[in-house]
């Protein structure tokens, strides 16, 4: 068992003919992900990496039965790519693209909320269910199957935490990168709920960062609805107010969104908060 992606995932790659799309499609195929095709308007009928390319997501879904799509489309076209996947009734849409304007995402979110699709990201590393499916850009070898669910706003920081767990022999059910944008498709709450319901997940690692109030809301959710232990790490304790730290969402505005505020809130509901990423396995083993 795992959440969101597994052996039954049939993945279509939007932007498969681009440099990034092609490279990562190959990595995903090598990992064992069931990639059923790609999409690129104007290249329908061609083949890439032995997979058929379609002009539209709809055509790809009809021909292959795809239930999941991953988007490697440049920022200016990414919102459109998400909308196309929603329109094609793809169940799970993962958007890797960084730099989508926030007003575009608000519109996407408004459409998404009236659909049956789920969006992960944008600006995220995607998902990895060790041994089953890799949908995104996380390096496969750092993870190993086991009982820990990982959910994170960050890319390389997730790798750091997952690698630290694996090095100590602690495996993962699924690693989910929800992305560092101010408005995204899937929140900490959604993923925490799924891990709570997943019989194979025993404990959860939550990696947050400065900006917004998602981690505070996660703390409330953990307090009210979670029986499984959660270990957290919050990046950006030394970040100054009013400066965006790489991710568009990582911005302390006024007193809102500081790491100290988030850490205090998480600790108040019994979450163990690591002082540094490599301490996460110690807290998981306690």
């Amino acid at each position: 068992m795992a959440i969101l992606v597994d052996k039954n995932t049939k993945l279509v790659v939007q932007g498969i003919t681009g440099k990034q799309g092609r490279f990562h499609a190959q990595q995903m195929i090598e990992y064992g992900t069931n990639v059923v095709g790609g999409v690129r308007a104007g290249k329908g009928g061609e083949w890439v990496l032995g997979k058929p390319v379609f002009d539209t997501v709809k055509a790809a879904r009809e021909a292959t039965g795809a239930n999941c799509s991953i988007i490697y489309v440049p920022a200016e076209g990414a919102a459109d790519a998400v909308l196309e996947a929603i329109d094609a009734e793809i169940e799970l849409i993962v958007c890797i693209t960084e730099g989508i304007p926030i007003q575009d995402m608000m519109k996407v979110r408004a459409i998404l909320d009236t659909s049956n699709s789920r969006l992960i990201g944008a600006n995220c590393p995607g998902l990895l269910t060790p041994g089953q499916a890799k949908v995104g850009i996380m390096p496969g070898y750092i993870a190993t199957p086991g009982p820990i669910g990982v959910v994170s706003k960050s890319g390389t920081l997730t790798y750091e935490a997952v690698y630290a767990l694996t090095q100590r022999g602690i495996g993962q059910t699924t690693c989910v990168g929800i992305g560092g944008d101010p408005i995204n498709g899937t929140s900490f709450l959604d993923v925490l709920q799924m891990f709570e319901e997943d019989p194979n997940t025993e404990k959860v690692v939550l990696i947050g960062e400065i900006g917004g109030t998602d981690e505070q809301k996660a703390a409330d959710f953990i307090d009210k609805h979670m029986t499984k232990p959660v270990v957290a790490f919050i990046a950006g304790q030394r970040a100054p107010a009013g400066k965006t730290m790489g991710h568009a969402g990582a911005l302390v505005e006024g007193n809102v969104g500081t790491a100290a505020e988030k850490i205090e809130k998480l600790k108040s509901v019994g979450v163990k908060v690591a002082s540094y990423p490599e301490q996460i396995p110690d807290l998981i083993m306690q």
């Binding site: 730099g99 850009i137 390096p139």
Partner: protein
């Protein structure tokens, strides 16, 4: 990206919002000429990307052109929260009868645009929010259909605006939302939207304006990008933006180069964790991104080295899709282009780490030390700064 008050008001005017017919002066004589042209009482306002201008003495009323010159000469060059004032706006004075607050912004939690109005304009709105939050009327906007007329009525009646001003208010609220939507803004704020007496009529006028633009949206607004004022930004941040690097200058001694924003923040935190007791911390936030080719690594090193506070460099790369041997080659190339004797702590982990470390070792750079973990790397960087003192 923040716009100056005068830039925001000009943008507002394009969307039909009444603003004062002021002009910008770069020296005291220009201020005199503008005040003379406007006639009567004027207001001299510092144009600087920082709040609290009024409290700092950056806004002054002038009775005549001579006073405008005098005020301008004092305000120009003034330091407001470590921003130097290099231009002032000269606006005509106004006969103010009331002050309203009106703004459109992104509500991150609700994932929608939010329009806010308050009868308590002119004040710090955060202060109003603390002391009398019920005096701020908040209405969410569906981004697919935009601001509706009935919502503006809710705002107008919520702040007890006299009926005879509703028509003007509606035009301004619609204009402000359109301005927000057409500019990829994250904030469009009028504070105060003043009720003024002019030629025997009562009208609403935007006496102050504030706009912030979403950096991710600037690509499709070259006319707004052209308004960028780099005169207040640290040179390092300007250079970093040109090299497509994400960089924020801080005041510590350890120059950090990391791939990924989250890991970059965690690396900063770690150096402060060990260094704080000695007054040692990160000199910057720097994310070289996922690609990290030799040119970008070199550009990143140049930026770090241009900060004279830097005593040690900490390179922390977690190779996922990025390959450590590529990064190692980048570091070696950069070192030949930007030689330095400062201690460099390198942690390369992940994809092709053995090959990467072999490349670093074979270069025989005596000032370079390896580290296996983030913990060890941060500890060594702090020790290196202490050794250099």
């Amino acid at each position: 990206m923040n716009l100056h008050e005068y830039q925001a008001k000009l943008r507002f005017a394009e969307f039909g919002i009444p603003v004062p017919r002021g002009k910008v002066a770069f020296n005291a004589n220009e201020a005199y000429e503008i005040a003379k042209e406007l006639g009567g009482v004027t207001v001299v306002k510092a144009q600087v990307h920082s709040g609290g201008r009024g409290k700092a003495g950056g806004v002054k009323v002038a009775k005549n052109p001579d006073e405008a010159r005098e005020h301008a000469s004092k305000i120009l060059g003034m330091d407001i929260k470590s921003h130097t004032v290099n231009k002032v706006l000269i606006d005509p004075g106004a006969n103010i009868k009331g002050e309203i607050y009106l703004a459109v912004t992104n509500d991150r939690a609700a994932r929608k645009p939010l329009i806010m109005a308050s009868s308590e304009g002119g004040m710090d709105i955060e202060e109003v929010n603390r002391t009398a939050p019920e005096k701020i009327i908040r209405i969410h906007i569906n981004p697919l259909i935009g601001l509706r007329s009935y919502q503006i009525t809710e705002l107008a009646s919520g702040i007890n605006l006299p009926h005879d001003l509703w028509k003007q208010f509606e035009k301004i609220a619609l204009g402000l939302y359109e301005c927000y939507a057409a500019s990829d803004a994250t904030l469009c704020e009028i504070n105060p939207l003043a009720v003024v007496e002019e030629y025997g009529q009562t009208i609403l006028k935007a006496l102050d304006g504030k706009m912030t633009i979403d950096g991710n949206g600037l690509g499709r607004h070259p006319e707004l990008e052209a308004l960028r004022d780099t005169s207040e930004e640290p040179q390092e941040e300007i250079t970093a933006r040109e090299s497509d690097l994400s960089y924020v200058k801080l005041d510590g001694q350890i120059g950090c180069m990391v791939n990924g924003a989250g890991l970059a923040m965690a690396t900063m935190d770690m150096t402060a964790h060990f260094g704080e007791q000695y007054g040692i911390g990160p000199a910057n936030f720097l994310d070289v991104g996922g690609g990290a080719d030799p040119e970008q690594v070199a550009a990143a090193l140049r930026i770090i080295l241009s900060d004279k506070n830097v005593k040690t460099i900490l390179i922390n790369i977690f190779g996922g899709i990025t390959r450590c041997d590529d990064v190692a080659r980048g570091i070696i190339t950069a070192m030949s282009e930007v030689p330095t004797q400062l201690p460099i702590i390198v942690r390369l982990i992940g994809t092709n780490q053995e090959e990467g470390l072999a490349i670093i070792n074979s270069a025989n750079l005596t000032n370079m030390t390896g580290a296996k973990t983030l913990y060890e790397a941060a500890q060594k960087a702090v020790e290196a700064v202490r050794g250099a003192k």
